[in-house]
Amino acid sequence: MPRHVAWSKTLAVGLALTIGVLGLMEWQFRLAGFGPSVHDGADLWWANYRQIAASDEPPIVIAGSSRAQLGIDPATLRRGLDDRPVIQLAINGSSPLLIIEQLADDRLFHGTLLLEIQPIVFDARPAGDATPAAILAQRQTAVWRPCETAVRTSVQSLLVFRNPLWEPKLYPRLLRPATWHGLFYLQTAPDRSIKADYGTDRDLDKEDRWARILETMQPMNAEELARLTDRISRAAHQIQSRGGQVAMIYFPGSGATLSAEERFFPRAAYWDRLVRESGLPHLHLHDVPAVQAVYRPCDGSHLDGKQTRPFSEVLAAAVKDLLRSEL
């Protein structure tokens, strides 16, 4: 047994210092206008996925990438779609292909799947499937993990200083609040929706950045596109055979990103062909006048957090019309 150390005094002062430092950080961050954000990892994705089985009525599930995750406000969409539960399963920078196949294999899913389509879906490189594959492989087998996710998410949604964007390299900025501009420009909610604040982080290069990323993609050839269409169709028919619905929604970019999209992934060759050959209900956001008025990606690819509610209201109405016409 080690010898005596004045532990009561040591731990009490240590605790007081800790609470003081964290409290000061929290206060300063809130003063600067930042809000809490949760860690959007595999655990949270699966926590949301499990709501499929827990839903009393067929849920609306969103699969896709960051355009849907940053663009759709689940609460607003839910209100616009007769209060059906909305589950956000979109994954940043990925194709929804593996997710639709996962849902097709899941006999508990018989809701409506909104499939966000954007150029990454037509990228022949397998990069778009990497994150979904990793997340699907991390299905929690340990009993305590869902509990941990729930506790952790609750804590993170209360405290700004637990923001997952916080990195050691930001320490030098901590002492200079004037440099906090854009420190936490993304805010992830427990329902996995992300609100971006481009007001504080308007990076004019971003639009070009998305365009440059599009240039690095490898557009699918006709044969690859046919295989993709086949996989989506088969999965969709599996879901439909259980009474579910699948609708594809194209989220276009803007500015230089849109120009790059049209250059590398022309609508007629990709989107129109996918729609035609899959025969699935579909919506191209440029085709809906009401949507166009509220859908204006700020950085060439994503909506600002302030735009998500009006956009989701209009999107809900458009989806409702689309699905009604299909029934």
Partner: protein, 473 residues
């Protein structure tokens, strides 16, 4: 659950509270045992029955094996052999069956047609390697008469399933643990203080140093060795050497701290291993509970160093090869164990040729540096996904990299070097001492500051947990 999770904070607070409230010692032991099973069930409830079954069987067999007059000596010996074999058979099935089948198939294919063997892929019960070694230690100790088998089933259950050491050690020994359960005990204020401090230190080592700073560059370099320059390779290997140290030493420190909070002492598992001078010294400082187990239950029963240099070398090699295999069912672990065995044999031969030579400071530092170099080379095999990765990295370490453009960012290299150099400095400074002695000498306000820095860091970055590396072993 794992120590670096919020669920554990809630669980531990509840256990601590119940432990402080229940006045009856036997009842408190039952509560601790139940907590161990709950802790285990948090991973996979079905395997709790395996743990309970194994505990019951080993306890019953130990009572027969450990009572000299109960059966003839030959029967007791046969029962001991049977019990040890049973424990090892369960371990081998869950951990090594696919590795064994895979290698049989490869050997078969050399001599004739390809043999397709479908993997059985049993789900490895958590902590099976640790529990098996603890059960074997108990059986052998009671057989040898080193420990009397009159422990209650609850005490024996707690010896196996005391949650702080349950899933990743330290591997406890009957004579260290069980006598503590005989008398009622409750943590004193000092024990609670030490316990909370060690828990904090262990979490800091795991969350900030291992996962936060060292794991990313290590994974990056080991993930793409063909893109690593010589500097990258060294940074990656050093990062892994210290990642695995802070990961596992962090877990052990947490385990010791959690046990202290409940008034139980667990033996130290690490003692500044990177300040070792020689490989035998390294193994007296690294994963002490495993190396001492291997020494007492494998190396010495094989004959130890009693029958000449050749047989000693054989015993060392066998012990280290099996010690390597204990870490996982893969050839890279066997190679790692073999390398350490070989280095131990070489060191032993040099000692016998040179005799007792005393070295000055420079000589000791040089020998320490050579030991550290050998250990780092061993880590390359331990961490590499395959032999190709290991040899690509070793080539890069030797100055023939496959790439010229740096893979790692300068900031990442600086962070790794800062941790590595400061840890080496601390380990060399304290190599003849203990952490406890250093803490006792420190002024209270510096400890308060240290606690605060660690708590703030863990509060900022902890939570998005990564599992401890040694859970997989």
């Amino acid at each position: 659950m794992i120590f670096n999770s919020l669920t554990f904070v809630v669980f531990f607070a509840a256990v601590l509270l119940i432990d402080r409230c229940v006045p009856n010692w036997t009842l408190r032991k039952v509560v601790l045992l139940a907590a161990g099973y709950l802790f285990y069930a948090a991973w996979n409830p079905a395997y709790v029955w395996l743990l309970i079954g194994s505990t019951l069987i080993n306890w019953c067999l130990a009572r027969i094996v450990g009572t000299p007059g109960s059966q003839p000596q030959a029967v007791r010996t046969s029962i001991l052999v049977g019990a040890v074999t049973l424990n090892l058979a369960v371990l081998c099935y869950f951990k090594y069956i696919d590795f064994f089948l895979q290698n049989v198939a490869v050997l078969w294919s050399w001599g004739g047609p390809t043999l397709d063997v479908a993997p059985l892929s049993p789900v490895l019960p958590l902590a099976i390697s640790f529990c098996t070694f603890e059960a074997i230690a108990y059986l052998v100790d009671v057989y040898r008469g080193d420990h009397t088998p009159n422990d209650s089933l609850v005490d024996f259950g707690l010896y196996i399933s005391f949650f702080p050491h349950l899933v990743a050690g330290p591997i406890v020994r009957p004579n260290d643990f069980l006598p503590q359960l005989r008398e009622p005990k409750r943590a004193t204020g000092d024990q609670l203080g030490w316990g909370l401090f060690l828990l904090t230190l262990g979490l800091f080592e795991k969350v900030i140093l291992a996962d936060g700073i060292l794991a990313p560059p290590a994974s990056y370099v080991f993930g793409q060795p063909h893109l690593a320059t010589t500097d990258d390779a060294w940074t990656g290997v050093l990062a892994f050497a210290f990642q695995i140290y802070f990961d596992f030493a962090g877990y052990s420190t947490c385990a010791i701290g959690a046990a202290w909070c409940l008034g139980i002492e667990l033996k130290r598992n690490f003692r500044f291993p990177y300040a070792a001078i020689g490989f035998s010294d390294f193994w007296r400082r690294w994963h002490i509970s495993l190396s001492s187990w291997l020494r007492d239950y494998l190396y010495r029963p094989l004959g130890g160093s009693r029958y000449g240099e050749l047989l000693t070398a054989r015993n060392l090699m066998l012990t280290m090869l099996l010690g390597g295999l204990w870490h996982g069912a893969a050839w890279n672990f066997v190679i790692w164990g073999g390398l350490h065995g070989m280095l131990l044999v070489i060191e032993r031969s040099l000692r016998s040729v040179l005799g007792e030579v005393s070295f000055g400071i420079a000589g000791r530092v040089l020998l320490g540096a050579l030991t550290f170099l050998g250990v780092c080379i061993g880590w390359v095999f331990f961490r590499a996904a395959d032999l190709e990765t290991a040899f690509t990295l070793l080539t890069a370490l030797a100055g023939w990299p496959a790439a010229e453009t740096p893979l790692l960012a300068r900031r990442s290299v600086q962070a790794v070097l800062t941790v590595v150099l400061s840890t080496l400095a601390v380990q060399w400074w304290l190599r003849e001492s203990t952490l406890e002695a250093a803490i006792e000498r420190a002024p209270w306000w510096s400890l308060a500051m240290a606690c605060s820095v660690m708590w703030v860091s863990v509060a900022l970055y902890g939570g998005d947990e990564a599992t401890f590396l040694y859970f997989q072993f």
